[in-house]
């Protein structure tokens, strides 16, 4: 096979990596290059260095070490039976690209994944070599996200955690049965066990009794995973249950939802169709409700009898419309928990309202200044000068509050 030049390899291996939605570079330990030999810093907040026209942020150099793969997962562009062009980076090439991009301030660091070549252990070893070289040979202090090969030896996973800020193993399909069918070389149990080991190591590195020597740092930005949406038949309610279970079980920082997207040379096992982007968006909103707004997965699902989130309105509004007996709430006395359930009020808005109402009684105008839009809020609150009257229970309330334009995914063609 002819040797590919580096730019062609980059083209192939960036294209092959882009179906992983994770791009976070936040939440790691704070550090910088002062006093070091190399470059790099992480200061808590992630930085998105560019945005592509798909609206996704470019924070890390997200590439595969190779897209050769001995696994034949139907949903994946890199599966054995796919006819995409193949390429393989050397460890040194990835290290050089990362540093060259980093010094020009293009990226926060590296997100390295890989197809499985030879064996899971061999592949994981190569990925660890990249991270080790960046950290030890170049004193690189930027962000590193390493994909875990769940089937690899736990000792390799431990090494990966010493160099990486974040580790992730993708659950990929919400239903284990679907994974068995579409990814016959994968085992959902093995993926969960790998995530379980990571959680134990992260906790060990963080906690530890004070009288003992602190264990070495281990993946200070924790772990995340990804679920592909729309490739198996799982309804949203089941996906949210799955997420709740993953957050609870493995202390995940994030569950990413990736609308199954047409890929070049896609498998006949999956119907080619447009990615359900609005569905993906609603799932992210529901995920937020679970993590920051005190909603449980079953509560969110209770608003949608068919188990699918309403595409026309956001899940909090859908819940409020289905639970109108709980509204309106008095913006001046309601507790934080209840205010968080008011459609249109974000965590920041609620915190500000609570702070302001210590000093003055809220009027509708005050609430308006503290939120992005008052229309969605108005039917669900009372203030000193406002009561929604019959609006809360109006039959056409949903129609009035749903955005007039069609969901984004329909507007493309």
């Amino acid at each position: 096979m002819a040797r590919l030049d580096l730019r062609k390899k980059l083209e192939i291996l960036a294209d092959a990596a882009k179906y992983d939605a994770s791009c976070a570079s936040s939440g790691s330990s704070k550090r910088n290059s002062v006093g070091g030999k190399g470059v790099g810093s992480t200061e808590g907040m992630g930085i998105c260095h560019a945005y592509t026209p798909d609206g996704r942020c470019v924070s890390l150099l997200k590439i595969l070490l190779t897209n050769f793969c001995i696994f034949d997962c139907a949903y994946c562009i890199n599966r054995t039976s796919s006819n995409v062009p193949r390429a393989r980076f050397s460890v040194q090439e990835v290290v050089d690209l990362t540093l060259n991009f980093y010094r020009r301030n293009y990226i926060e660091g590296l997100f390295l994944s890989s197809g499985i070549v030879k064996s899971s252990n061999h592949t994981m070893e190569e990925m660890v070599r990249v991270a080790r070289s960046l950290r030890e040979d170049h004193d690189f202090r930027g962000y590193i996200h390493l994909k875990l090969i769940p089937e690899a030896d736990p000792a390799l996973v431990e090494q990966a955690g010493l160099y990486a800020d974040r580790l992730s193993a993708n659950v990929e399909l919400p239903r284990d049965e679907a994974l068995e069918r579409l990814a016959p070389q994968k085992d959902a149990g093995v993926i969960k066990q790998a995530m379980g080991r990571v959680r134990l190591k992260v906790e060990e590195a963080k906690g530890g009794r004070k009288d003992r020597a602190r264990p070495p740092r281990f993946a200070p930005a924790g772990q995340s995973t990804q679920l592909i949406i729309g490739a198996d038949g799982a309804p949203d309610a089941e996906i949210l249950d799955r997420s709740a279970s993953l957050y609870g079980g493995y202390g995940l920082r994030r569950v990413y939802y990736s609308a199954f997207s047409p890929i070049p040379d896609s498998s006949s096992a999956l119907p080619p169709s447009k990615p359900p982007l609005m569905r993906e968006h609603r799932l992210y909103q529901a995920d937020w409700l679970m993590r920051f707004y005190g909603f449980s997965a079953p509560e969110i699902a209770s608003a949608s009898p068919d188990g699918m989130l309403d595409l026309a309105v956001d899940p909090k509004l859908a819940w409020a419309l289905a639970n109108r007996d709980r509204f309106p709430v008095d913006a001046n006395v309601a507790d934080r928990e209840m205010l968080l359930r008011v459609p249109g009020l974000g965590v920041k808005s609620v915190n500000r309202m609570i702070s302001v109402r210590r000093h003055r009684t809220l009027r509708l105008e005050d609430v308006q200044r503290l939120t992005r839009g008052i229309d969605k809020v108005r039917p669900f609150i009372t203030t000193l000068d406002w009561t929604p009257g019959g609006l809360t229970d109006a039959i056409d309330l949903k129609a009035r509050l749903a955005p007039a334009r069609a969901p984004e995914q329909l507007s493309l063609f």
Partner: protein
């Protein structure tokens, strides 16, 4: 109307000095305007701090503002206040205090490109003298305005961290990295230390229309405004970066509005990758349609030959395994009840393949579920301590659970234990029976009601049948006691100690039965 001239666009120190004087002089916000430039330096701009002193030349009067000197002359206007609620005697002591949040807010707002930023700050300064909690009333018009501007400044600083693009050059001392950047607000000095911390070992310069920041490897310095032509015009790595940018874009997910919201067009001129955007957008739909329409192709025979073996899934109707290793593998495929779905793994017993003593608990907990071993969590520690006190050697006992998967309910980042139902325990007896058949214990100590049910196959009141040997069908003996996690839940210390002693006593009785 008076006008105060500040020496530079970000002359916060000048503003502060002037504002202090104005405030002490009782000049109301609507009577003063702050402007940048004009003659006179920072300190010339000071209005007299003491009423009646000679007037500062730079503090000019525009229209009808000439009354400030006379009105503030000693003895004049005894009831003058410096702002709502501030009495004259406080003014005379020249004590001006501001809420803790004010200096930081002012520092941010001062960097905003709006003309009236210093006027807004003076209005806020004036108002906080009387309304001490004003900054907490974030719905107030002025406060909301200031916070919005501070947010824009902070965002501009963040975008600068993101969108500065260095180009590599060489000089006598080696590599030098130079960027041309146009920040949305005047955030160069605020943001430069970030680059210093990030690129400490490089020598770099950031050129902007507001000024220049330079890090020579040892010191950060700031210079005069620069122009685009002072920056290098190319860098060979940019072609790689553009290749990456184009390849990481997914044409099936076009969302240009989101992109522009986060990467406003004002920054595009200095982003090498942005030149690709029009073509990427224009071609996206065609590329997507081609992908959807393309028929599936046959696999490459050379690659498919190397495909990894398919994972062997356990058959549901297989006979009970005859070794502990086989049993542990088979449990991972168990679908006899739904508990496998949210658990990490099935957790089998641990201990010698032949043991006289078997200890059966309820189910794995959070820690056991992750580690894949029984009794490694808090209840396991209680059990270990009690066993060693009763002089029962855990390494000689086979320790397992009646239910092999962890039943729980997720609550945020934690999992709350749930008691398994009788149907779940019954389903899992298949595995417990298989373990009993392999290990062949003489005595089985059951911990808690679930374990007793799993071993005896009937509902039992542990408190009634506790401590009394029960003959089992296979010739072995069962001894019932409580679960160690029960001991952890007793709030009263004395009661807990007594219960623990009884538990140790039960284990001692077990040892004597062997």
């Amino acid at each position: 109307m008076r006008t105060v001239s500040l020496t530079s666009e970000t002359d916060l120190a000048g503003w502060r000095e002037a504002a202090r004087g104005l405030l002490l002089a009782g000049v109301e916000p609507q009577g003063v305007r702050f402007r940048v430039g004009g003659q006179g330096g920072l300190f010339d701009a000071l209005p007299p701090a003491h009423p009646g002193e000679s007037r500062d030349p730079v503090l000019s009067e525009e229209s009808g503002g000439g009354d400030w000197r006379s009105s503030e002359a000693p003895g004049a206007g005894a009831a003058k206040t410096l702002g709502p609620g501030v009495r004259r005697d406080e003014r005379m002591e020249k004590v001006i205090t501001v809420p803790r949040a004010f200096p930081d807010l002012a520092a941010e707002v001062a960097l905003h490109r709006s003309e009236d930023r210093f006027d807004l700050l003076y209005r806020l300064l004036w108002r906080v003298q009387g309304e001490r909690d004003l900054l907490k009333v974030v719905s107030d018009r002025d406060v909301a305005d200031a916070m919005e501007r501070a947010k824009n400044v902070s965002r501009a600083s963040h975008k600068m961290k993101a969108f500065v693009r260095f180009r590599q050059t060489q000089d006598d001392a080696g590599d030098r990295w130079i960027a041309w950047f146009e920040p949305a607000h005047r955030v160069l000095e605020k943001t430069a230390p970030f680059f210093q911390r990030r690129f400490t070992t490089l020598r770099w310069t950031i050129l902007t229309p507001d000024g220049t920041a330079d890090w020579n490897g040892e010191a950060l310095s700031f210079g005069p405004p620069a122009t685009r032509d002072m920056a290098p015009q190319e860098d060979e790595v940019e072609e790689f970066w553009k290749t990456y940018y184009a390849s990481t874009f997914n044409p099936a997910r076009l969302k240009t509005r989101t992109m522009q919201g986060e990467m406003p067009k004002r920054y595009w001129a200095n982003l090498p990758e942005a030149s690709l955007i029009p073509e990427l957008v224009a071609r996206a739909e065609v590329r997507e349609r081609e992908m959807v329409a393309a028929p599936a192709t046959p696999a490459n025979p050379r690659l498919i030959r190397a495909v990894a073996p398919v994972v062997e899934r356990a058959a549901q109707d297989a006979p009970p395994p005859e070794t502990l290793e086989a049993l542990e593998r088979a449990v991972q495929g168990c679908r006899r009840c739904p508990l496998w779905r949210d658990a990490t793994q099935g957790v089998c017993g641990r201990g010698p393949a032949r043991a006289d003593l078997m200890i059966v608990g309820e189910q794995p907990g959070d820690q056991e579920d992750l580690a894949g071993e029984p009794f490694v969590g808090p209840a396991g520690q209680v059990l270990n301590a009690a066993m060693s006190e009763a002089e029962v050697d855990r390494s000689h006992a086979f320790v397992t659970n009646a239910v092999k998967h962890f039943k729980h309910e997720p609550r945020g980042k934690r999992r709350i234990h749930q008691t398994p139902t009788t149907s779940e325990i019954t389903a899992c007896r298949w595995w417990l029976d298989a373990e009993r058949a392999i290990v062949k214990p003489k005595l089985i100590v059951t911990l808690g009601a679930t374990a007793a049910f799993g071993v005896l196959g009937r509902k039992v009141a542990v408190t009634k049948e506790r401590g009394r040997p029960i003959a089992l069908e296979d010739g072995s003996t069962a001894l019932l006691t409580v679960h160690p996690s029960y001991l952890l839940r007793i709030p009263d210390k004395a009661a807990a100690a007594a219960e623990r002693a009884r538990f140790v006593e039960d284990l001692r009785a077990a040892r004597e039965l062997l």
